[in-house]
Symmetry: C2
Subunit: 348 residues, 2 copies
DNA sequence: TTGTAAGCGTTATCAC
DNA sequence: GTGATAACGCTTACAA
């Protein structure tokens, strides 16, 4: 390993001067600078992050915690985190939250020992436990989750998004719209989205119909079965995750029902999964990659600025219509297959 | 931050003794041990990873580099890496390889400054450039890629796997089998798989038919179009990635062709994507999660043992038959829809 | 069984 | 402008 002393020796200066040059501080002549730069290149010197972090009490890692590492939603956010972090000279350290939050706290303690510059929690709220595990110097931020509470977060307005999705289905002419929600116990965000669905249905004087999965693919077919058992005449299913929506599309097809002609399916999140089925999913888009980038930007800004100044921040969602939704065919409302699709603005 | 000295003071011993207790070394009485443990708990002390790494010249991070962070294949391998690393007290640091290997080398240099215990390269070979960037003390290993070269790697036998997949299609009765390969320039592994396909086809005196995509979803429909343009009577398509295979299934459906009755589709990798389409993909399974775990195990073992002792290592692949493959329907060979499926052992 | 002290590679404070 | 020097928190000879 080549150290700062090696460079100093070759350049004929002191370690302190090399440090100044490396860190872009003032206090040396142009000539000195050139000699140091040359030496650095010659020895291909790279400052030791460990020693630096130890001395400055300021590490160069951003910790990221996700419930499941291989999840599409988390992956896309992490991708944004990675690019923004790298761009600013930080490295990202990855951890899995797992089932209980004790697990998360353990990771947080580890991040602290690295003197992490910040921590990003994907799809998980900041609990008191976690805050404690992290100590006081390190800013945390939740991404893709938010609730009434004032902890730092970055998310879309899930209530409004679910409302808009439901509204769109209603506007298309659907009246019997089933909701396929995630596990209410584990995913906080589902409760909020459910509220949005409920509000839209109530406003339109429509009967809500809800069944629960766990946000993952395999949980959807049985839940869809339950939905259909309760109302065989459903014309639309709103699934609160793309994975479940994809499963619904496939399961419907397996049952010989045409999507969207017989039943429309609306997803949520706009992960890669949404384009991996046929017909491709109409879905509510969250700017996942962007959220990851923004999270590190805000985290890093928080370090300099007032430490606790991070509140919740809402990003815009967007309804993307692909092939899995249309007007219901067997009604008096205009059918998409026969007419051009000008969304009819009728409410009941 | 509570340091080892704080603990020492509370426990009424020296920092050295605390260190011994923390690291499980011998040399203290049971009574001392108890007092130290109590103090540690009381202050919720956690050793500083930075200081420790600096002193011991042995960091606690495993670096992982993937071409694309949000890719399903990489995600599943990373998931295995994470669990194995965590279990052994290591943290994983994530990086994206990006287009050129200069990018990768830069990450490698960063890993070195963390005194990484090892580095895992997903879907990328170890180049001389990279070896150099990493210095000599840190073991590297490629996962899910291998070639004739003797660099350390962990992969299935891609040639044999592609051969087996092709064989299976032939055994089912297919004669006109198109191959949908990835970009030959960027993905080394594709060349090897292509060889396996070619060998099986040649042995069976069948005409090979190959078109190239780039392994991703969007590249598949046009490539499929080209395949079909060259032979409209194709009864099977072997795609060298699940994403492409999924796209083929969906595109075929869009064209009104029934999978597998009219055309069988075989995928590769057995990522989550393979179960996200209907019919679910038959595919060649790589033990992705397991590969990730094994990679860290071998890396960590390599540290202690002889440093360069890591050669290539081959893992078993497995053919998984789901719904996207069957015997061709419009031939004299037994149709799967009418008879029970005993794979007919006929060769041409 | 336990303590003292010397560094690991860096940055920051202070002199010159 | 530049160089000693003292930490940062830890481990590890070496002493006791």
């Amino acid at each position: 390993m080549t150290t700062i002393r090696d460079v100093a020796k070759v350049a004929g200066v002191s370690p302190a001067t090399v440090s100044r040059v490396v860190n872009g501080l003032a206090g040396y002549s142009a000539e000195t600078r050139r000699r140091v730069d040359d030496a650095i290149r010659e020895l291909s010197y790279e400052p030791d992050t460990l020693a630096r972090g130890l001395k400055t009490k300021q590490g160069a890692v951003i910790g990221v915690l996700a419930p499941v590492v291989s999840d599409a939603l988390a992956s896309e956010i992490m991708s944004g985190v990675e690019s923004a972090a790298r761009q600013r000279g930080y490295s990202v350290m990855l951890g899995r939250t797992g089932p209980n939050s004790a697990y998360a706290a353990s990771y947080l303690r580890t991040f602290r020992t690295y003197r992490a510059a910040g921590v990003i929690l994907i799809s998980a709220a900041v609990t008191a436990d976690m805050r404690r595990a992290l100590g006081s110097g390190i800013p945390v931020m939740s991404v893709a989750i938010r609730d009434g509470a004032q902890f730092p977060s970055l998310a879309i307005d899930d209530e409004a998004a679910a409302y808009d999705g439901t509204r769109r289905l209603i506007t298309l002419g659907h009246r019997r719209i089933g909701l396929l929600a995630g596990d209410p116990a584990s995913t906080l965000v589902n409760t909020v989205r459910k509220r949005g669905y409920l509000r839209a249905m109530t406003e339109a004087r429509l009967d809500p119909l809800i069944e629960h999965g766990n946000s993952l693919y395999d949980s959807a077919p049985p839940a869809l079965g339950r939905l259909l058992a309760r109302d065989a005449g459903l014309t639309a299913v709103f699934a609160l995750s793309d994975e479940m929506a994809a499963a619904v599309v496939n399961e419907l097809q397996r049952k010989g029902r045409i999507v969207p002609d017989e039943i429309s399916v609306l997803g949520f999140d706009n992960t890669r999964t949404s384009t991996h089925v046929y017909p491709a999913l109409s879905t509510i888009a969250q700017p996942l990659e962007r959220m990851g980038q923004l999270a590190v930007e805000r985290l890093l800004a928080a370090e300099d600025g007032p430490a606790g100044a991070l509140g919740p921040r809402i990003l815009a969602h967007r309804l993307i219509e692909r092939g899995s939704t249309s007007a219901p065919a067997d009604r008096t409302t205009p059918s998409r297959t026969t007419s051009t699709t000008h969304p009819t603005k009728e409410n009941s």
